[in-house]
């Protein structure tokens, strides 16, 4: 046991030296490169500035989002949420779309929460509206979008479009389906009363400090998981800004339909967390149409590679397809409509 502990300490010590030292060694490498290849040195420096600009502006929101998510995980039970939602279809669907303001879960936090809620007998339409809207309709996203775009058409458009799309898709489910038709077997099991889920949060012996420790443990995991997508997305955006001439994107970026499709595809692939995607969108401002940016900011948080994988754990395949196609078509329509009819 003692030996094991010692080994651990060694690994940590070596790890610290290597990890902390690496960037400083690379610093020497960069200095050498900028002497031998000045053009490359300058290009790399511009790229680093553009990358760090987005990252530094975004990282506070990513951290805030992670902490909120950890706190909800440790302190709020599905019962608390279920109690707040009215049971009739139309009203509750709209309430579902705005629930994110009370429970600001991000797009990764929302899927497990919705699954838990379904087990508590939450109406299907409410869950769908909550699932689609919560990643956007939440205070952290409101602030980050405002920081990026100020009081502008993009800011208002993002929330109007996603609110409407979430309600419409929710209501389609309300009137067209029953839980048995859409939920995956795993989630239905719980509908019959059993809890497939070993853990509940109603363990009252948890003290406040333990819960806080738990919350931060969740927050850190989430920070690294979401940070991965943020860094990859930021790398792509800053590479594009540094190395691709704006003019070469112009044909598609200014096309009313093409620009929307291009940024929707980008949003789906990048899977960047909704708390920080506004800063990536900023990199497209001026190059792409405003409608495309609104679609990017509305569609991305609802559907992307990451959330698609998570949807598959809750819903049947056919339903997952609807959950992708309906928001896709509705935000596509909204973006194109914006480009053709609105002046900003």
């Amino acid at each position: 046991m003692v030996v094991k502990q010692q080994n651990k300490a060694w690994v940590l010590a070596v790890g610290i030296i290597v990890l902390v030292g690496l960037p400083f060694v690379l610093r020497e490498g960069y200095a050498l490169l900028s002497v031998q290849q000045p053009m490359w040195g300058i290009a790399l420096r511009t790229f680093a500035t553009r990358f760090l600009g987005i990252f530094i502006e975004a990282v506070p929101f990513l951290l805030l989002g992670s902490v909120v998510s950890g706190i909800i995980d440790a302190f709020v039970t599905a019962d608390d949420i279920a109690r707040l939602i009215p049971r009739h279809k139309l009203g509750s669907t709209v309430v579902g779309a705005f629930m994110g303001f009370i429970f600001p879960v991000c797009e990764c936090g929302v899927v497990p929460v919705v699954r838990r809620l379904y087990r508590k007998g939450l109406p299907l339409s409410v869950g769908v509206a909550f699932l689609l809207a919560a990643p956007i309709m939440n205070p952290v996203v409101v602030v980050s979008t405002f920081v990026a775009f100020g009081w502008s058409g993009v800011f208002i458009g993002r929330f109007v479009v996603s609110g409407v799309v979430a309600c419409v898709v929710g209501l389609i489910f309300a009137y067209r389906s029953t839980p048995l038709m859409v939920l995956s077997p795993q989630s239905i099991e719980a509908f019959a009363g059993g809890s497939a889920d070993g853990h509940t949060h109603e363990e009252h012996h948890h003290t406040l400090p333990t819960k806080l420790m738990d919350a931060f443990e969740v927050a850190i995991s989430e920070f690294f998981e979401m940070g991965f997508y943020l860094v990859v997305g930021t790398l792509l955006a800053s590479l594009m800004q540094t190395f691709i001439a704006t003019e070469s994107l112009t044909p598609i970026a200014t096309d009313a339909l093409g620009s929307v499709l291009a940024l929707q595809l980008m949003a789906f692939v990048l899977s960047v967390c909704s708390t920080v995607d506004a800063f990536l969108a900023l990199a497209f401002k001026g190059t792409f149409t405003t409608g495309a940016i609104v679609s990017f900011l509305s569609f991305g948080p609802m559907v992307d590679i990451k959330s698609t994988l998570m949807f598959l754990g809750v819903f049947q395949r056919k339903v997952v397809l609807y959950l992708i196609v309906l928001p896709f078509l509705l935000t596509l329509w909204a973006g194109v409509f914006w480009n053709l009819n609105l002046p900003w």
């Binding site: 790890g15 960069y30 760090l52 738990d214 969740v218 690294f224």
Partner: protein, 238 residues
């Protein structure tokens, strides 16, 4: 994995703290949003404390299966989260300069939103952004003819710039470098060729209204061009 995570959180804390302390943050974001970086610093510190406690007394942490769906932190997540640190530490911090313009520079003639207060600024107090605003908003450019100019910025040249001229440019940003765009004014100086693209200079002289190929044109006729260090706030905030 957890100890590497701990190190990365610690290094992010250190990097952000240094960027705030050294003023390098001004190279990346509008300082109006500096408080956000302080928020980030506090959260990172709390995370670091949490991880240290967990490391020291592993039993104190009540680890259990969470409903929250995480994939565990994997090596590639850790590697990717190291990228900002490498770019931040390995490459000396610098603001966007002449090489970042790549042809898309705005000068007088386009119409940014102009506020009444911009007009009340005395001519010699106007910066590049103020000048571009007032001139673009004016119906009669001749009113600026002969006004005193004292502006700072970096040297930039369009491919077809006439001999004896360069542009004095600044980047403006509202949020961070992602939305930075370049603004510039034309300068005519006897020693124009001495200054390379990207050099920071202070230009004093007077505005000259002229017509070039039947188009109205504004040029600063420099009486003096002085090299200056990169200012602490390299960007202008509209």
């Amino acid at each position: 994995m957890k100890s590497i995570r701990l190190i990365i959180v610690g290094m992010l804390l250190g990097y952000l703290g240094y960027a705030l302390y050294s003023g390098q943050l001004a190279n990346y974001i509008n300082l109006r949003f500096q408080w956000l970086s302080w928020v980030a610093l506090v959260i990172l510190l709390l995370m670091l404390v949490n991880q240290l406690i967990a490391l020291v007394k592993p039993n104190g942490l009540h680890v259990h299966e969470h409903d929250h769906e995480h994939s565990p932190t994997t090596w590639y997540m850790l590697a990717i989260m190291g990228v900002p640190l490498v770019l931040g530490i390995a490459i000396p911090s610098a603001p966007l300069g002449a090489e970042a313009i790549r042809g898309s520079v705005s000068t007088v003639g386009f119409a940014p939103a102009v506020s009444a207060s911009t007009f009340n600024i005395a001519p010699e107090k106007r910066n590049v952004l103020d000048w571009v605003r007032v001139i673009s908003d004016s119906a009669d450019w001749a009113e600026f003819d002969g006004q005193a100019v004292d502006v700072s910025g970096f040297v930039y040249r369009e491919p077809n710039v006439p001999e004896g001229q360069f542009m004095i440019a600044r980047f403006t940003m509202s949020c961070c470098v992602a939305d930075a765009s370049a603004l510039a004014l034309f300068v005519e100086a006897a020693d124009a060729e001495q200054y390379a693209d990207g050099d920071w200079v202070q230009v004093t002289g007077e505005m000259d209204y002229r017509t070039v190929e039947e188009n109205p044109h504004m040029v600063i006729v420099a009486s003096d061009v002085t090299p200056i260090p990169v200012p602490e706030q390299p960007y202008l905030y509209p």
